[in-house]
């Protein structure tokens, strides 16, 4: 006797207790993008942006007036400034050299740049991230109300809650 192939065994609709019905309706498309969740990582920062911010030294003085280019660049990268979800400032290595180690680009209200010496304390919102801003693997630290976003030398972002 020959063994014949059998095509269908399933005729009836299957109701299985205890299993989420919705599972049967999910799409069958396999997408590697979809395997990650949108809330997971912020958009990578462009190299252009990083380079621009790192060269703040070139902008003289403590007060930055009408630096439209600066504001534009930041807004394009992160979104409009002044919202509760916008950064309050950017902390970065200072290339002026000793005795300065970091500078802060303040973004809430007036745009200000302050350079800090090693011996000087940073404002409380920024203090914790000083070590990371100086670290060779990170280019800048965006400081928000509730978190820090560390930007590494390739633009990858890391969220760190305060």
């Amino acid at each position: 006797m020959k063994l014949q192939s059998k095509n269908t065994f399933l005729h009836k609709k299957l109701i299985i207790p205890g299993v989420n019905q919705n599972l049967t309706q999910k799409s069958t498309k396999v997408d590697s993008q979809a395997l990650s969740s949108p809330s997971l990582s912020l958009k990578k920062r462009s190299v252009d942006y990083i380079r621009f911010i790192s060269k703040i030294e070139n902008l003289e003085g403590h007060s930055v007036n009408g630096y439209k280019e600066l504001i534009d660049k930041i807004s394009v990268e992160i979104g409009p400034l002044g919202l509760p979800t916008s950064p309050i400032g950017i902390l970065a290595k200072c290339f002026l050299g000793a005795p300065f180690d970091v500078h802060i680009l303040g973004l809430s209200g007036d745009i200000i740049i302050n350079h800090y010496k090693v011996s000087e304390q940073l404002p409380p919102d920024y203090a914790k991230a000083r070590i990371l801003a100086i670290h060779n693997q990170y280019s800048i630290v965006e400081v928000y109300n509730d978190k820090f976003v560390l930007i590494d030398i390739e633009g990858n972002t890391t969220n760190l809650t305060k």
Partner: protein, 569 residues
């Protein structure tokens, strides 16, 4: 009067005698008490001994009775089983026979017997019965009966029927049928409570033992599970935390022989050691993840063997109905094995049951497969799958881990060398520290030298007393002279011993200073090395990130494609 004194003496003597007697009486009484006390202690101990022996006897007796009871029960229960479910055992035997027949293509008389529905009636609740009817009807081309039997089988136990046909169709290479059964099997699965054999099925699909269409099905199913799970609160956070725990736990150790001076003299060595282990993790994890992506040949034979085992246990294991009775038999068998010790038997039984009843949730399955595949029964290919699915969380966890350990890194290295305490950032301030160290020792030297003084009091007192005596005109002229002589003598003796001590103090300080300087220099040199190593190892994080970013489902698919090719060839 002489009479009286004689009588008195006599009375005294008598009283003394009585006194003596009382004394000795008292003594002997005390002795007796001591003896009694002693005897009581002995008795108490003996009683205690006896009591514990008695208890032991009672226990042993109890166990013996329990053992006998168990032996009898085993016999009775087995008989019971035979009466109630004896036929089930027959069905199971026949099932093995049919499977063999199906494999070899030889159909025997037995198979044809099973196309009757009598089988189903005799074991009204057993799912395996209609399953076999279906199978044998299908073999003998009896479509109508096959379909009816299948319906009945699904009614009795949908899950086991599905599992059975999925595995059987696979064995027979019925590609389309297999795919449909796989689909049904997945519908049965609740990602929160996956059945124990799920990992083996997953293995089979992933390694290509099941037809390729099943893999697409599986991936889309997994996708929907992930979508479901991701929507739960804190899900991602939990994933990230789990991976961070893994990174922390697998950090390599610092070699014992490294940094001997730091180990001995650094006050915050524990923190430094943590820093080193943290940076070591970068290289370690790079190797770990790169290894997973490598094309490893799966043990196809073993996986196939496992799949067949599932089928055999499905067919050979007791049905849910018989289970209570079977458990009682098992318990009593164990009691016999443990010589009547019921507690031991019960705990062993619990272990046996735990092994069979473990249900896992999908995430735990993934995590286990990714971290230690051997323990969870996963092969390298499943590990790759698990890692590629978890890739987003692996990456985020790694970035967070890096940020956290960089934040915690020791900014200063403190030391305590022979009491001289200080700190350095990167070992480059040797000159200033040596100066400070010198100062420290000079201070000690001065302190010690200052303390090493002649005590003039001896001289003053000696001479003072002497002079006083001389000028006060007392007769102790000799003592006066002596006093002065002693005072002066002590003074000169002190002078010489102070001088000697001075020399030894200076010598000791000079030695300590030289040694301290040597240690300090060596220490700072090690700090320089430490900083270099920390920098180098930390920078390897870039390579690690790249490796992780390269883990994608696409790269996974190419691995499994190779595996399938190997099977076909």
């Amino acid at each position: 009067m002489a009479d009286n004194s004689g009588a008195l003496n006599q009375i005294n003597a008598n009283i003394l005698a009585v006194h003596q007697e009382l004394r000795s009486f008292e003594q002997s009484t005390l002795q007796s008490f001591a003896t009694v006390d002693q005897k009581q202690n002995i008795l108490e101990n003996e009683l205690k001994d006896f009591y514990s022996q008695f208890l032991a006897f009672v226990k042993a007796d109890l166990m013996q009775k329990r053992l006998q009871l168990a032996e009898t029960r085993v016999g009775n229960l087995r008989q019971d089983l035979q009466i109630k479910y004896g036929y089930y055992a027959e069905i199971r035997r026949m099932a093995s026979g049919i499977l063999q027949g199906v494999d070899s293509g030889i159909i025997s008389e037995e198979t044809i017997k099973f196309t009757t529905e009598e089988v189903m009636i005799k074991a009204p609740r057993y799912w395996l019965a209609p399953t076999l009817v279906c199978l044998s009807s299908w073999i003998s081309d009896n479509k109508e009966v096959a379909e009816k039997a299948l319906d009945e089988s699904l009614k009795r136990d949908d899950y086991k029927t599905t599992l059975f046909f999925m595995l059987t169709m696979r064995r027979l290479n019925r590609i389309d049928a297999t795919r449909q059964w796989v689909e049904r099997y997945f519908l049965h699965q609740d990602p929160k409570k996956l059945s124990r054999e799920f990992i083996l099925i997953l293995e089979g699909i992933v390694t290509g033992i099941f037809p390729p269409a099943s893999k697409t099905l599986m991936m889309s199913k997994i996708q929907s599970w992930i979508d479901l799970l991701v929507s739960e609160p804190d899900f991602i956070e939990k994933q990230i935390d789990t991976w961070i725990q893994m990174y922390k736990a697998t950090r390599p150790l610092v070699n014992d022989k490294k940094y001997p001076l730091l180990r001995d003299y650094c006050s915050n060595w524990n923190g430094v050691e943590e820093d080193l282990r943290n940076v070591y993790s970068n290289d370690h994890l790079s190797v770990f993840f790169a290894d997973i992506l490598k094309n490893n040949d799966s043990d196809i034979k073993n996986i196939t063997f496992n799949l067949d085992n599932i089928l055999h246990s499905l067919v050979g294991n007791f049905d849910d109905e018989e289970l209570p009775l079977q458990r009682e038999v098992r318990l009593n068998e164990l009691i016999v094995e443990f010589q009547g010790d019921e507690d031991e038997a019960k705990s062993r039984m619990q272990i046996e049951e735990d092994i069979y009843s473990k249900e896992v949730d999908f995430l735990r399955l993934l995590t286990n497969a990714a971290f230690n595949p051997e323990d969870s029964g996963a092969s390298k290919v499943t590990q790759s799958l698990a890692v590629s699915i978890s890739q987003p969380w692996i990456l985020e966890a790694n970035k967070k881990f890096l940020a956290e350990y960089r934040l915690e890194q020791q900014q200063e290295i403190s030391f305590n060398i022979d009491g001289f305490q200080g700190k350095t950032q990167n070992g480059s301030d040797e000159e200033e520290l040596i100066i400070q160290q010198d100062l420290y020792y000079e201070n000690i030297r001065n302190e010690q030298l200052n303390a090493n003084k002649i005590n003039y009091w001896a001289l003053i007192i000696g001479v003072g007393i002497g002079l006083f005596l001389l000028f006060s005109g007392s007769e102790n002229f000799g003592i006066a002279i002596l006093s002065i002589v002693i005072g002066v003598g002590v003074f000169f003796w002190q002078k010489s011993s102070v001088a000697k001590k001075r020399v030894s103090i200076n010598e000791e300080i000079d030695n300590k200073k030289a040694r301290g300087k040597e240690i300090l220099r060596g220490f700072l040199a090690e700090v320089v090395d430490l900083k270099t190593e920390l920098f180098l190892e930390d920078s390897k994080s870039q390579k690690l990130q790249k490796t992780i970013q390269d883990i994608t489902p696409e790269s996974f698919s190419s691995i499994s494609a190779n595996v399938s090719r190997n099977i076909i060839n």
